[in-house]
Amino acid sequence: MRTVYTMGVALLSGLSLLFAVGIIYGEATDQWFLGGGSVGALLIAYSFIVLLLRKMGMTGPRKTER
Protein backbone atom coordinates (compact mmCIF):
# COMPACT_ATOMS: atom_id res chain seq x y z
CA MET A 1 0.00 0.00 0.00
CA ARG A 2 2.90 2.32 0.79
CA THR A 3 4.10 1.94 -2.82
CA VAL A 4 0.69 2.99 -4.12
CA TYR A 5 0.69 6.04 -1.86
CA THR A 6 4.22 6.94 -2.96
CA MET A 7 3.19 6.71 -6.60
CA GLY A 8 0.17 8.84 -5.82
CA VAL A 9 2.35 11.53 -4.25
CA ALA A 10 4.69 11.44 -7.25
CA LEU A 11 1.77 11.72 -9.69
CA LEU A 12 0.19 14.59 -7.75
CA SER A 13 3.55 16.36 -7.57
CA GLY A 14 3.83 16.14 -11.37
CA LEU A 15 0.30 17.50 -11.72
CA SER A 16 1.15 20.31 -9.30
CA LEU A 17 4.04 21.29 -11.54
CA LEU A 18 1.65 21.35 -14.49
CA PHE A 19 -0.80 23.56 -12.59
CA ALA A 20 2.05 25.88 -11.58
CA VAL A 21 2.88 26.26 -15.27
CA GLY A 22 -0.82 27.01 -15.83
CA ILE A 23 -0.65 29.82 -13.28
CA ILE A 24 2.38 31.36 -14.97
CA TYR A 25 0.89 30.95 -18.46
CA GLY A 26 -2.42 32.47 -17.34
CA GLU A 27 -0.62 35.42 -15.79
CA ALA A 28 1.65 35.95 -18.79
CA THR A 29 -1.23 35.92 -21.28
CA ASP A 30 -3.77 37.76 -19.09
CA GLN A 31 -6.01 34.69 -19.06
CA TRP A 32 -7.02 35.27 -15.45
CA PHE A 33 -9.64 32.55 -15.29
CA LEU A 34 -7.04 30.01 -16.39
CA GLY A 35 -4.57 31.33 -13.80
CA GLY A 36 -7.15 31.39 -10.98
CA GLY A 37 -8.47 27.94 -11.86
CA SER A 38 -4.90 26.60 -11.86
CA VAL A 39 -4.38 28.05 -8.36
CA GLY A 40 -7.44 26.08 -7.24
CA ALA A 41 -6.29 22.87 -8.92
CA LEU A 42 -2.83 23.27 -7.36
CA LEU A 43 -4.29 23.69 -3.87
CA ILE A 44 -6.49 20.61 -4.33
CA ALA A 45 -3.46 18.59 -5.50
CA TYR A 46 -1.57 19.76 -2.41
CA SER A 47 -4.46 18.70 -0.18
CA PHE A 48 -4.33 15.16 -1.59
CA ILE A 49 -0.55 15.07 -1.17
CA VAL A 50 -0.98 16.04 2.50
CA LEU A 51 -3.63 13.34 2.88
CA LEU A 52 -1.43 10.65 1.32
CA LEU A 53 1.58 11.67 3.44
CA ARG A 54 -0.65 11.40 6.50
CA LYS A 55 -1.90 7.96 5.45
CA MET A 56 1.70 6.88 4.93
CA GLY A 57 2.44 7.96 8.48
CA MET A 58 5.00 10.56 7.43
CA THR A 59 3.08 13.47 8.97
CA GLY A 60 0.95 13.77 12.13
CA PRO A 61 -0.82 13.09 14.32
CA ARG A 62 0.70 15.17 17.06
CA LYS A 63 2.61 13.23 19.71
CA THR A 64 -0.11 13.75 22.27
CA GLU A 65 -2.66 12.16 19.93
CA ARG A 66 -0.64 9.03 19.20
Binding site: G36, G37, V39, A45, S47, V50, R54, E65
Partner: protein, 379 residues
Protein backbone atom coordinates in the same frame (compact mmCIF):
# COMPACT_ATOMS: atom_id res chain seq x y z
CA UNK B 1 -29.93 10.78 44.88
CA UNK B 2 -31.43 10.05 41.52
CA UNK B 3 -34.81 8.47 41.24
CA UNK B 4 -35.57 5.66 38.84
CA UNK B 5 -38.28 6.63 36.40
CA UNK B 6 -40.10 4.03 34.38
CA UNK B 7 -39.34 4.56 30.72
CA UNK B 8 -42.16 5.09 28.31
CA UNK B 9 -42.41 3.41 24.95
CA UNK B 10 -40.62 5.66 22.44
CA UNK B 11 -42.83 7.35 19.85
CA UNK B 12 -42.47 7.42 16.08
CA UNK B 13 -40.37 10.59 16.18
CA UNK B 14 -38.02 9.13 18.77
CA UNK B 15 -37.58 5.98 16.67
CA UNK B 16 -36.87 8.09 13.58
CA UNK B 17 -34.26 10.12 15.48
CA UNK B 18 -32.65 6.96 16.80
CA UNK B 19 -32.41 5.62 13.23
CA UNK B 20 -30.89 8.89 12.04
CA UNK B 21 -28.39 8.82 14.92
CA UNK B 22 -27.41 5.27 14.05
CA UNK B 23 -26.99 6.09 10.35
CA UNK B 24 -24.97 9.24 11.14
CA UNK B 25 -22.59 7.23 13.30
CA UNK B 26 -22.40 4.56 10.60
CA UNK B 27 -21.45 7.25 8.09
CA UNK B 28 -18.74 8.46 10.51
CA UNK B 29 -17.27 4.97 10.67
CA UNK B 30 -17.33 4.66 6.88
CA UNK B 31 -15.63 8.05 6.37
CA UNK B 32 -13.04 7.14 9.01
CA UNK B 33 -11.99 4.26 6.77
CA UNK B 34 -11.19 6.72 3.99
CA UNK B 35 -9.55 9.41 6.08
CA UNK B 36 -7.54 9.40 9.30
CA UNK B 37 -9.91 10.15 12.18
CA UNK B 38 -8.50 13.62 12.75
CA UNK B 39 -9.13 14.45 9.07
CA UNK B 40 -12.78 13.33 9.03
CA UNK B 41 -14.61 16.34 7.54
CA UNK B 42 -17.84 15.40 9.32
CA UNK B 43 -16.16 16.31 12.61
CA UNK B 44 -15.38 19.79 11.29
CA UNK B 45 -18.62 20.98 9.68
CA UNK B 46 -18.63 24.05 11.96
CA UNK B 47 -14.97 24.74 11.22
CA UNK B 48 -15.67 24.43 7.48
CA UNK B 49 -18.46 27.02 7.83
CA UNK B 50 -15.95 29.33 9.50
CA UNK B 51 -13.44 28.75 6.72
CA UNK B 52 -15.99 29.68 4.04
CA UNK B 53 -17.08 32.72 6.07
CA UNK B 54 -13.47 33.89 6.34
CA UNK B 55 -13.06 33.40 2.57
CA UNK B 56 -16.22 35.43 2.02
CA UNK B 57 -14.94 38.28 4.18
CA UNK B 58 -11.58 38.47 2.40
CA UNK B 59 -13.03 38.28 -1.11
CA UNK B 60 -15.82 40.68 -0.09
CA UNK B 61 -13.31 43.31 1.01
CA UNK B 62 -11.65 43.06 -2.42
CA UNK B 63 -14.98 43.49 -4.23
CA UNK B 64 -16.00 46.35 -1.93
CA UNK B 65 -13.17 48.52 -3.20
CA UNK B 66 -14.41 48.35 -6.80
CA UNK B 67 -18.18 48.24 -6.33
CA UNK B 68 -20.16 51.39 -7.09
CA UNK B 69 -23.47 51.46 -5.21
CA UNK B 70 -25.53 53.62 -7.56
CA UNK B 71 -28.35 52.79 -9.97
CA UNK B 72 -26.43 53.80 -13.06
CA UNK B 73 -23.09 52.27 -12.16
CA UNK B 74 -23.75 49.18 -10.01
CA UNK B 75 -24.17 46.70 -12.87
CA UNK B 76 -21.35 48.32 -14.86
CA UNK B 77 -18.98 48.20 -11.88
CA UNK B 78 -19.67 44.48 -11.44
CA UNK B 79 -18.94 43.96 -15.14
CA UNK B 80 -15.76 46.00 -14.73
CA UNK B 81 -14.65 43.84 -11.78
CA UNK B 82 -15.34 40.67 -13.76
CA UNK B 83 -13.77 41.64 -17.10
CA UNK B 84 -11.15 44.33 -16.46
CA UNK B 85 -9.76 44.00 -12.96
CA UNK B 86 -6.93 41.43 -12.89
CA UNK B 87 -8.36 38.28 -11.30
CA UNK B 88 -11.53 40.24 -10.44
CA UNK B 89 -13.68 37.58 -12.08
CA UNK B 90 -11.91 34.91 -10.04
CA UNK B 91 -12.45 36.79 -6.78
CA UNK B 92 -16.10 37.35 -7.67
CA UNK B 93 -16.44 33.63 -8.38
CA UNK B 94 -14.68 32.75 -5.11
CA UNK B 95 -17.14 35.03 -3.26
CA UNK B 96 -20.08 33.37 -5.00
CA UNK B 97 -19.00 29.74 -4.53
CA UNK B 98 -17.76 30.29 -0.97
CA UNK B 99 -21.26 31.59 -0.16
CA UNK B 100 -22.73 28.32 -1.44
CA UNK B 101 -20.11 26.36 0.51
CA UNK B 102 -20.98 28.34 3.63
CA UNK B 103 -24.66 27.40 3.41
CA UNK B 104 -23.89 23.75 2.59
CA UNK B 105 -21.49 23.51 5.57
CA UNK B 106 -24.01 25.17 7.89
CA UNK B 107 -26.78 22.79 6.80
CA UNK B 108 -24.48 19.77 7.30
CA UNK B 109 -23.53 21.14 10.72
CA UNK B 110 -27.19 21.63 11.63
CA UNK B 111 -28.28 18.15 10.53
CA UNK B 112 -25.34 16.44 12.20
CA UNK B 113 -25.92 18.15 15.53
CA UNK B 114 -29.64 17.52 15.29
CA UNK B 115 -29.25 13.82 14.54
CA UNK B 116 -26.60 13.29 17.23
CA UNK B 117 -28.61 15.06 19.96
CA UNK B 118 -26.15 17.90 20.37
CA UNK B 119 -28.96 20.42 20.52
CA UNK B 120 -30.59 19.31 23.76
CA UNK B 121 -30.43 20.67 27.30
CA UNK B 122 -27.29 22.75 27.78
CA UNK B 123 -26.62 22.67 24.04
CA UNK B 124 -29.74 24.67 23.20
CA UNK B 125 -27.67 27.87 23.28
CA UNK B 126 -25.50 26.94 20.27
CA UNK B 127 -28.58 25.64 18.47
CA UNK B 128 -30.58 28.86 18.88
CA UNK B 129 -27.62 31.05 17.94
CA UNK B 130 -26.99 28.70 14.99
CA UNK B 131 -30.54 29.23 13.73
CA UNK B 132 -29.91 32.98 13.74
CA UNK B 133 -26.61 32.43 11.93
CA UNK B 134 -28.48 30.47 9.25
CA UNK B 135 -31.19 33.15 8.98
CA UNK B 136 -28.66 35.95 8.67
CA UNK B 137 -26.55 33.90 6.26
CA UNK B 138 -29.54 33.44 3.96
CA UNK B 139 -30.46 37.13 4.19
CA UNK B 140 -26.90 38.24 3.40
CA UNK B 141 -26.85 35.96 0.37
CA UNK B 142 -30.13 37.47 -0.82
CA UNK B 143 -28.87 41.05 -0.46
CA UNK B 144 -25.69 40.01 -2.30
CA UNK B 145 -27.76 39.15 -5.36
CA UNK B 146 -29.43 42.56 -5.17
CA UNK B 147 -26.06 44.33 -5.32
CA UNK B 148 -25.22 42.83 -8.72
CA UNK B 149 -28.30 44.71 -9.99
CA UNK B 150 -29.08 42.31 -12.79
CA UNK B 151 -32.40 40.58 -13.46
CA UNK B 152 -32.04 38.71 -10.17
CA UNK B 153 -32.21 41.94 -8.17
CA UNK B 154 -35.77 41.23 -7.11
CA UNK B 155 -35.88 43.98 -4.47
CA UNK B 156 -37.03 46.37 -7.15
CA UNK B 157 -40.28 44.44 -7.41
CA UNK B 158 -41.12 45.38 -3.80
CA UNK B 159 -40.00 48.99 -3.88
CA UNK B 160 -40.20 49.68 -7.61
CA UNK B 161 -40.94 52.90 -9.46
CA UNK B 162 -40.29 56.13 -7.57
CA UNK B 163 -39.12 54.24 -4.50
CA UNK B 164 -35.85 53.28 -6.15
CA UNK B 165 -32.97 55.72 -6.11
CA UNK B 166 -29.18 55.72 -5.79
CA UNK B 167 -29.67 55.54 -2.06
CA UNK B 168 -31.49 52.22 -2.43
CA UNK B 169 -28.33 50.36 -3.39
CA UNK B 170 -26.36 52.06 -0.62
CA UNK B 171 -28.92 50.77 1.88
CA UNK B 172 -28.81 47.29 0.34
CA UNK B 173 -25.00 47.38 0.53
CA UNK B 174 -25.33 48.19 4.22
CA UNK B 175 -27.82 45.32 4.62
CA UNK B 176 -25.19 43.06 3.04
CA UNK B 177 -22.19 44.16 5.08
CA UNK B 178 -23.89 45.05 8.39
CA UNK B 179 -25.47 41.62 9.01
CA UNK B 180 -22.24 39.99 7.77
CA UNK B 181 -20.46 41.77 10.60
CA UNK B 182 -23.22 40.70 12.97
CA UNK B 183 -22.45 37.08 12.06
CA UNK B 184 -19.31 37.33 14.18
CA UNK B 185 -21.36 38.55 17.14
CA UNK B 186 -23.62 35.54 16.68
CA UNK B 187 -20.54 33.33 16.49
CA UNK B 188 -19.44 34.66 19.88
CA UNK B 189 -22.91 33.72 21.20
CA UNK B 190 -22.53 30.36 19.44
CA UNK B 191 -19.27 29.56 21.27
CA UNK B 192 -19.88 31.14 24.67
CA UNK B 193 -21.03 27.89 26.28
CA UNK B 194 -18.54 25.59 24.55
CA UNK B 195 -15.17 24.82 26.08
CA UNK B 196 -13.25 23.36 23.13
CA UNK B 197 -15.08 24.31 19.93
CA UNK B 198 -13.38 23.14 16.74
CA UNK B 199 -13.49 26.46 14.93
CA UNK B 200 -11.11 25.63 12.08
CA UNK B 201 -10.77 22.51 9.89
CA UNK B 202 -7.49 20.61 9.46
CA UNK B 203 -5.01 21.99 6.92
CA UNK B 204 -5.89 19.34 4.35
CA UNK B 205 -9.49 20.59 4.23
CA UNK B 206 -8.44 24.24 4.17
CA UNK B 207 -6.36 23.48 1.08
CA UNK B 208 -9.14 21.44 -0.52
CA UNK B 209 -12.00 23.88 0.11
CA UNK B 210 -10.10 27.03 -0.85
CA UNK B 211 -8.77 25.17 -3.89
CA UNK B 212 -12.28 24.05 -4.82
CA UNK B 213 -13.77 27.56 -4.81
CA UNK B 214 -10.83 28.85 -6.88
CA UNK B 215 -11.17 25.95 -9.32
CA UNK B 216 -14.91 26.50 -9.70
CA UNK B 217 -14.36 30.24 -10.14
CA UNK B 218 -11.96 29.47 -12.99
CA UNK B 219 -13.74 26.55 -14.66
CA UNK B 220 -17.36 27.71 -14.20
CA UNK B 221 -16.84 31.49 -14.27
CA UNK B 222 -19.50 34.03 -13.42
CA UNK B 223 -19.36 35.35 -17.00
CA UNK B 224 -21.04 32.21 -18.32
CA UNK B 225 -24.37 33.74 -17.31
CA UNK B 226 -25.34 36.62 -19.55
CA UNK B 227 -28.01 38.19 -17.40
CA UNK B 228 -29.16 41.67 -18.43
CA UNK B 229 -29.06 44.64 -16.08
CA UNK B 230 -32.09 45.28 -13.91
CA UNK B 231 -34.69 47.73 -15.18
CA UNK B 232 -36.66 49.17 -12.25
CA UNK B 233 -39.90 49.35 -14.19
CA UNK B 234 -39.65 45.91 -15.83
CA UNK B 235 -40.51 42.51 -14.42
CA UNK B 236 -37.91 39.76 -14.77
CA UNK B 237 -38.45 37.18 -17.48
CA UNK B 238 -36.35 34.12 -16.71
CA UNK B 239 -32.89 33.73 -15.24
CA UNK B 240 -30.69 31.09 -13.55
CA UNK B 241 -31.96 30.51 -10.02
CA UNK B 242 -29.65 30.10 -7.06
CA UNK B 243 -31.00 27.18 -5.06
CA UNK B 244 -29.58 28.40 -1.75
CA UNK B 245 -30.48 32.07 -1.66
CA UNK B 246 -33.30 32.65 -4.12
CA UNK B 247 -35.41 29.53 -3.68
CA UNK B 248 -38.28 31.44 -2.01
CA UNK B 249 -38.69 33.33 -5.29
CA UNK B 250 -38.78 30.08 -7.21
CA UNK B 251 -41.57 28.94 -4.88
CA UNK B 252 -43.57 32.00 -5.95
CA UNK B 253 -44.13 30.18 -9.24
CA UNK B 254 -46.37 27.72 -7.38
CA UNK B 255 -47.50 29.38 -4.17
CA UNK B 256 -48.97 32.78 -3.25
CA UNK B 257 -46.48 35.21 -1.70
CA UNK B 258 -48.23 35.10 1.69
CA UNK B 259 -47.91 31.31 1.86
CA UNK B 260 -44.18 31.48 1.01
CA UNK B 261 -43.60 34.04 3.77
CA UNK B 262 -45.60 31.93 6.24
CA UNK B 263 -43.59 28.87 5.21
CA UNK B 264 -40.28 30.63 5.89
CA UNK B 265 -41.47 31.94 9.26
CA UNK B 266 -42.76 28.46 10.20
CA UNK B 267 -39.40 26.90 9.25
CA UNK B 268 -37.49 29.38 11.40
CA UNK B 269 -39.82 29.16 14.41
CA UNK B 270 -39.95 25.37 14.06
CA UNK B 271 -36.15 25.32 14.03
CA UNK B 272 -36.03 27.37 17.22
CA UNK B 273 -38.48 24.99 18.89
CA UNK B 274 -36.63 21.79 18.01
CA UNK B 275 -34.48 21.59 21.20
CA UNK B 276 -37.55 21.98 23.40
CA UNK B 277 -40.20 20.05 21.48
CA UNK B 278 -38.30 17.08 20.19
CA UNK B 279 -36.21 15.66 22.98
CA UNK B 280 -36.39 11.97 23.57
CA UNK B 281 -36.05 11.93 27.34
CA UNK B 282 -36.20 14.71 29.87
CA UNK B 283 -33.29 15.07 32.30
CA UNK B 284 -35.62 13.94 35.06
CA UNK B 285 -36.47 10.81 33.08
CA UNK B 286 -32.78 10.14 32.69
CA UNK B 287 -32.27 10.67 36.40
CA UNK B 288 -29.47 13.17 35.99
CA UNK B 289 -31.06 16.32 37.36
CA UNK B 290 -30.90 15.52 41.03
CA UNK B 291 -27.18 15.61 41.53
CA UNK B 292 -27.02 19.30 42.39
CA UNK B 293 -24.72 21.94 40.94
CA UNK B 294 -21.04 20.98 41.37
CA UNK B 295 -19.42 22.54 44.40
CA UNK B 296 -15.76 23.29 45.04
CA UNK B 297 -14.15 22.19 48.31
CA UNK B 298 -11.85 25.17 48.70
CA UNK B 299 -9.37 23.43 51.00
CA UNK B 300 -8.66 20.72 48.44
CA UNK B 301 -8.42 22.91 45.33
CA UNK B 302 -4.83 23.38 44.16
CA UNK B 303 -5.67 25.70 41.27
CA UNK B 304 -4.39 23.16 38.73
CA UNK B 305 -7.14 24.13 36.18
CA UNK B 306 -7.84 20.52 35.11
CA UNK B 307 -11.57 20.94 35.79
CA UNK B 308 -11.51 24.30 34.00
CA UNK B 309 -10.18 22.67 30.81
CA UNK B 310 -12.37 19.57 31.03
CA UNK B 311 -15.76 21.22 31.60
CA UNK B 312 -17.49 21.11 28.20
CA UNK B 313 -20.03 23.74 29.21
CA UNK B 314 -17.65 26.53 30.25
CA UNK B 315 -19.15 26.40 33.72
CA UNK B 316 -15.90 26.67 35.68
CA UNK B 317 -13.76 29.80 35.95
CA UNK B 318 -10.44 30.20 37.74
CA UNK B 319 -10.22 33.21 40.06
CA UNK B 320 -7.35 34.54 42.19
CA UNK B 321 -7.33 32.60 45.42
CA UNK B 322 -7.70 34.53 48.68
CA UNK B 323 -5.29 32.07 50.34
CA UNK B 324 -1.73 31.16 49.57
CA UNK B 325 -2.56 29.41 46.32
CA UNK B 326 -2.55 31.22 43.02
CA UNK B 327 -5.98 30.17 41.66
CA UNK B 328 -9.25 28.75 42.86
CA UNK B 329 -11.98 27.04 40.78
CA UNK B 330 -15.43 28.60 40.93
CA UNK B 331 -18.54 27.00 39.42
CA UNK B 332 -20.98 29.24 37.53
CA UNK B 333 -24.28 27.75 38.68
CA UNK B 334 -26.35 28.84 35.69
CA UNK B 335 -24.03 26.95 33.34
CA UNK B 336 -23.54 23.75 35.31
CA UNK B 337 -25.55 20.80 34.00
CA UNK B 338 -24.55 18.53 36.88
CA UNK B 339 -22.81 16.08 34.55
CA UNK B 340 -19.95 15.30 36.98
CA UNK B 341 -17.15 15.53 34.39
CA UNK B 342 -15.24 17.99 36.60
CA UNK B 343 -15.29 15.46 39.42
CA UNK B 344 -13.62 12.89 37.20
CA UNK B 345 -11.08 15.51 36.11
CA UNK B 346 -10.05 16.52 39.64
CA UNK B 347 -7.34 14.33 41.19
CA UNK B 348 -7.57 16.15 44.52
CA UNK B 349 -11.25 15.46 45.38
CA UNK B 350 -11.88 19.18 45.34
CA UNK B 351 -15.25 18.96 43.58
CA UNK B 352 -18.45 17.15 44.42
CA UNK B 353 -22.07 16.91 43.36
CA UNK B 354 -23.76 17.63 46.69
CA UNK B 355 -26.70 15.28 46.12
CA UNK B 356 -24.64 12.54 44.49
CA UNK B 357 -21.57 12.00 46.60
CA UNK B 358 -18.83 9.52 45.91
CA UNK B 359 -20.06 7.19 48.63
CA UNK B 360 -23.49 7.12 46.94
CA UNK B 361 -21.88 6.10 43.66
CA UNK B 362 -19.85 3.37 45.35
CA UNK B 363 -22.96 2.07 47.09
CA UNK B 364 -24.90 1.96 43.82
CA UNK B 365 -22.05 0.11 42.10
CA UNK B 366 -21.89 -2.39 44.96
CA UNK B 367 -25.65 -2.92 44.78
CA UNK B 368 -25.54 -3.41 41.05
CA UNK B 369 -22.77 -5.99 41.33
CA UNK B 370 -24.39 -7.91 44.16
CA UNK B 371 -25.44 -11.43 42.99
CA UNK B 372 -29.17 -11.63 42.44
CA UNK B 373 -29.55 -7.89 42.10
CA UNK B 374 -32.17 -6.79 39.57
CA UNK B 375 -29.77 -4.13 38.29
CA UNK B 376 -26.84 -6.52 37.86
CA UNK B 377 -24.64 -5.53 35.01
CA UNK B 378 -22.79 -7.81 32.67
CA UNK B 379 -19.06 -7.85 33.16
Amino acid sequence: MSTVVERQTPGRYARLMTTLLRETLRLDVWVNRLYPTDFNPLYYTGGLSNLFLFTLVLSGIFLFFYYDASLGEAFASVQYITDRVPYGGIVRGVHRYAADGFIVAILLHLLRNWFTDRHLFARDNPWISGMFLLLFGGFIGFTGYQLVWDERALTRLFIGGLGISDGTLVRILFLHIGPATALYAFLWWHYVRLRHPKIWPPGVWVLFCVGLVFLLAGVVPMTRETIPAAAPAAHPTSFPMDVFFLIPFWLLNFLPAGVVVLLLVALFVGGLAIPYASRRETPVEMGVRHSGVAQVIDGNCTGCELCYYDCPYNAIVMVPSPGHRSLLAVVIESRCVECGICIGACPFEALELPKFLERDVLRQVAEALRPGSGQAVRA
